[in-house]
């Protein structure tokens, strides 16, 4: 077995009685784009800071190519980092900002010049070399910060919510840039964000943090299609959670009764549940279909609201027991409601796409 490139081993960070990170262990192969995703205060940034050397972990170790980083001061770790806030040096031009890490390493002038030109080409800001940071937009500043962080070919690039100060359109644009730069440079990236779309768009793997622990780590598909817990299912994508009672599990599929009395068969049984145990059935909004005809795994609902969102419609349906369900059919399906809206409709879903979590 080959050694992992970067290894975070049982890293724990306590601030007094409060434990921000509980024994987090992750192995990162070279060249991977790994995202730490989670709500604020979940320990993702603290873990990143331990790698950067801003906060020493209370216990545990961080190994790069099998050598511990913990006793190495920040300025000798040779790690690149892009921060949430704009941290360009305001008194230096764009070119001098990118040159800074090379100048403090006393690289020859010719090399500095060549590398700065390469880096500015990489982030497509060649024309801005002589500008000062104050004259750049937020997106441009973060691209310069990216160029500065990559100028010295660091083995790892840390990114701490670098796009959170930008507007949505610009964020998507720079995400595409970051993907391209990751492809072109092959640098190993650890990326922190609380935005699940950003994580899904960028990452090879996502580590979802909750209260200082990793709840699940895997590809975006793993987390979306095979969530390990109700928290994961709720954090990644949109989900409906319906109160249910577990009736029985046979051959890996479960039978449940929903609050309105309907019986759903063929739900994947990922958690061991007892007979009669309270549970929550999770169904993605896009898994529902609207239909006028009752069938298997269908619920009688009343349409409460419907809205058009371009590629999809958003329909709010209410079951007989009063639970509201978010339904997202593609917009080429007929608009629900109309003449028979008041008389009620049916929605159905494939039970194999649903998940059952203990309540």
């Amino acid at each position: 077995m080959t050694l992992p490139f970067l290894s975070i081993r049982a890293v724990r960070k306590a601030f007094g009685a409060f434990v921000a990170v509980h024994d987090v262990t992750i192995d990162v192969p070279k060249g991977e784009f790994l995202t730490f995703l989670g709500p604020s205060g979940s320990g993702k940034s603290t873990t990143l800071y331990a790698i950067a050397g801003f906060q020493d972990p209370t216990s545990g170790d961080v190994l790069l190519e099998d050598k511990s980083l913990l006793l190495v001061p920040s300025h000798r770790r040779n790690i690149g980092m892009v921060f949430q806030r704009y941290t360009l040096f305001p008194h230096l031009s764009v070119a001098e900002n990118v040159a800074f890490p090379l100048r403090v390493r006393r690289r020859p002038d010719a090399e500095v010049k060549r590398k700065v030109a390469d880096m500015l080409a990489l982030v497509r800001l060649e024309k801005f070399a002589d500008r000062y940071p104050g004259a750049l937009s937020g997106g441009q500043q973060q691209r310069v910060a990216l160029a500065r962080a990559l100028a010295y070919d660091p083995p790892i690039l840390l990114m701490d919510e670098p796009l959170s100060a930008l507007d949505k359109k610009l964020r998507q644009e720079i995400q595409t840039e970051i993907r391209r730069i990751h492809r072109e440079t092959g640098v190993t990236i650890l990326y922190v964000t609380h935005d699940q779309e950003e994580a899904l768009h960028l990452s090879d793997r996502i580590a979802l943090f909750k209260e200082g622990r990793i709840e699940q780590i895997g590809t975006g598909e793993d987390l979306y299609l095979r969530p390990a817990s109700e928290f994961v299912a709720g954090f990644i994508g949109n989900s409906n959670f319906l109160p249910a009672e577990h009736l029985e599990t046979e051959n890996g599929t479960a039978k449940v009764r929903l609050a309105d009395g309907s019986i759903i068969k063929g739900v994947k049984a990922t958690h061991a549940l007892g007979r009669g145990q309270k549970a929550r059935l999770m169904v993605r909004p896009e898994a529902f279909r609207l239909t006028p005809v009752p069938g298997n795994a269908s619920l009688a609902v009343e349409i409460v609201d419907t809205a058009f969102f371009g590629d999809r419609r958003r329909v709010v349906a209410r079951t007989g027991s009063g639970d509201e369900i978010d339904v997202r059919p593609t917009s080429d399906t007929a608009e629900p409601g109309g003449a028979d809206a008041a008389s009620g409709r049916q929605i159905f879903f494939d039970p194999a796409t649903a998940f059952l979590f203990p309540a």
Binding site: A52, H75, R77, G80, T87, P101, A145
Partner: protein, 286 residues
Amino acid sequence: MTANALRRQSFAGLPAGSGGALPALTLVGLFFIVPVVALLLRSVTDPEPGLQNYAALFGSGTYVRVFFNTFLVAAVVTAVTILVAFPVAWMLAIMPPALGSIVFGIIILSMWTNLLTRTYAWMVLLQRTGVINRALMGLGVIHEPLPLINNLTGVTIGMVYIMLPFMILPLVGSLRAIDPMTLRAAALCGASPLQAFRRILLPLSLPGIAAGGLMVFVMSLGYFVTPALLGGTSNMMLAEMIAQTVQSLLNWGLGSAAAFVLLAVTMALYAIQLRLVGAKRLGGGL
């Protein structure tokens, strides 16, 4: 022009509401501008019309030496004040604001204590048989008392102490404006603490150093009490010389000329600094 804008125009063309500034402006006009003009007039009319007072001032080795010494003391005091103030200002800038304002309050408190009292206190501490010399001799560090008073050392110690708040205040403002993340970024870029200081922190705090430095330098140029009490006869400063010229020699013309030269130099320095800082703002994007 809208009716509202019209109403805001007073008959004198001044913005409305500026009437409240009148008492202060009158004070400055009557008791500063008028005396300065009188001073200038006196320097070219007393005892007779002409520039003989200025000729005497720049022609005499003694007076030129006093000028030189004045600038030397002001320069040394400014340099030492910057060195002493910087670490304090940095500490205040990175402290939690609540704690910082307490420490800053203590520093300000020293400014409210009478200047003369503080200078006499230094005399007690610094003289040959003073507390410092006796303590050092008692500890066996020295065998002869150190010459700490009636020389440049004494003046520098006494004046740096008085000037510190004037340096710390603008410097803290300048340092607080620097995002601490910028320094973290510099560290991760590979800058050692010394490199981060020299290449990032120092250039970014220059406006504060310049503002505080000029204030201290200008105040030092005209300082009277502290140099008079802690300095020696061999390094007399301009303010003391002016007092002597007027009080002992009763030479009002010469004293006026010296005072006017001091004022002119101060204003010239101020103009230079304004230009330097202004130009830097435009070019450096600070």
